[in-house]
């Protein structure tokens, strides 16, 4: 029985990693569509939201079933708890991808302002944090997440700088208000995605050590 349970736990982890990659790709593709002002690419991201939701429900159900039928303990229990958090965080990351994709059609008619400020760079950093947190979950490794606090500080600083730069552009030229507001919102979404990566990292730490940490 224990072997069957552990095989299912391994498969659950594998499929959760697949969902996390799916959600991360939604966000990456949405940001690419935004940068390239590619409306078709953005539509393809929005179309994935049902599949994402489907994965969330199925993975959660598998977690609940393992809890109900196998009453897991110790690390087995912590893996399932962490998996539920990774599933929720992935869902949010994918949804932010969809939200950013929805913005593309609104700001694709005019050229970008100031090369979208630091948004492409910020997106790369947030994406790396998501990748590392998911890899840490997959590989049972806390080494990959050891510098998350500093990386999160960088993300916060970038969001703040995009906010200030956006305000400056809007004051100089009110015609930029709509686009700059969208940029500020996108920066906020990317910051939230990095926060979700931090949440995953905190839970991976708990999964592996049994100790709770807080990444500021």
């Amino acid at each position: 029985m224990a072997e069957k349970f552990h095989t299912e736990l391994k498969n659950l982890k594998k499929d959760t990693v697949a969902m996390a990659h799916f959600a991360r790709d939604m966000l990456r593709t949405a940001v690419d569509a935004l940068i390239r002002q590619d409306k078709d690419l953005a539509v393809s991201v929005v179309a994935k939201k049902d599949a994402l939701r489907d994965m969330e429900v199925k993975l959660e159900d598998r977690c609940y079933q393992l809890i109900a039928l196998d009453q897991p303990m110790a690390k087995d229990m912590r893996i399932i708890v962490c998996t539920l958090k990774v599933v929720s965080a992935s869902m949010r990351i994918g949804r932010y991808g969809k939200v950013i994709a929805n913005i593309v059609k609104d700001i694709s008619d005019k050229p970008h302002i100031s090369h979208m400020m630091s948004i492409p760079h910020m997106a790369d950093l947030a994406m790396e944090m998501i990748d590392d947190s998911v890899k840490a979950y997959e590989m049972d490794s806390i080494a990959l997440i050891s510098d998350f606090s500093a990386r999160d500080d960088t993300i916060d600083a970038l969001r703040h700088s995009i906010f200030r730069e956006g305000i400056t552009h809007m004051m100089e030229d009110p015609k930029t208000i709509s686009r700059c507001t969208h940029y500020i919102m996108v920066a906020r979404y990317l910051e939230r995605c990095a926060d979700h990566a931090c949440k995953i990292a905190e839970n991976v730490h708990y999964m592996n050590t049994g100790e709770r940490i807080e990444i500021h």
Partner: protein, 253 residues
């Protein structure tokens, strides 16, 4: 463990002939708490339990070294009253073992042995013990019926009541639910929760979920050694020892 200690062992070793069944076990049992002993078959958990009221004295070729204290007294000290010790440290076994007597006589037997003769006092002890064991309402109208006519779960609660009748401080339970169905098991588990207000309970169980549900502290034993002992929530959420982790996650045992 910040709670006061009622029983403690220090470097306890036990041999059955050549077999070294308990190896340097040192642990403290906190008062008015439920402590569970878990571990694979043959790891020594029942042997350790039976040390606490010197039940192993009844087995030939047993050698014990180290110290066990109950209420700060060494229970192997010369002059220890073993009958008194077993009155204070009562025991409930795996299979319910009521005497082939009436329900009333099962409970009254212990107090009588210890000198209670007054009928009114015996009636009071019988009712109070049966109430504490959460079986009074089920048997109060048939106290003179044979105890053997009760269901397995009722018989086990009767045995607990019989233990309570001699006013113990500690109740040892050796797999008390393994012969019972889930409903009877749930009743015993609820009872254990109530009992700890007045008594200290030490329970041996092979059922880890039961240990997790009913106990405040858990000791994990393996091949005669106490591998880890601590708060139940810690043992089942993040045990310190890899061996404990592997056992409670079903990787062996």
């Amino acid at each position: 463990m910040s709670e006061s200690t009622i029983i403690s062992t220090q470097n306890l070793n036990l041999w059955y002939n050549e077999k070294h069944a308990l190896q340097s076990v040192s642990m403290r049992i906190p008062q008015n708490k439920v402590t569970a002993l878990i571990g694979p078959s043959g790891c020594g958990k029942s042997t350790l339990l039976r040390c606490f009221n010197r039940l192993n004295d009844l087995i030939d070729h047993v050698k014990i070294t180290g110290e066990i204290t109950f209420d700060n007294e060494n229970i192997h000290a010369p002059g220890t009253d073993v009958v008194y010790l077993r009155k204070k440290v009562g025991m409930v076994f795996q299979k319910p073992n009521p005497f082939p007597k009436s329900i009333y006589e099962n409970i009254a037997y212990g107090p009588r042995v210890h000198g209670v003769r007054d009928k009114g006092e015996l009636d009071r002890i019988v009712e109070q013990s049966l109430r504490h064991a959460a079986i009074w309402d089920e048997v109060k109208d048939r106290l003179n019926d044979s105890a053997l006519g009760l269901s397995g779960g009722q018989q086990q609660r009767l045995c607990i009541a019989r233990t309570l009748a001699v006013e113990p401080e500690v109740i040892l339970m050796d797999e008390p639910c393994s012969a019972l169905d889930p409903i009877a098991t749930a009743k015993i588990e609820n009872l254990i929760e109530m009992l700890k207000e007045e008594y200290t309970v030490i329970i041996v169980t092979h059922n880890m979920q039961q240990a997790a549900r009913v106990s405040d502290y858990t000791g994990f034993m393996y091949l005669g050694k106490l591998i880890e002992c601590g708060r139940t929530s810690d043992i089942f959420e993040h045990p310190k020892e890899e061996l404990t982790e592997n056992y409670i996650t079903g990787r062996f045992g």
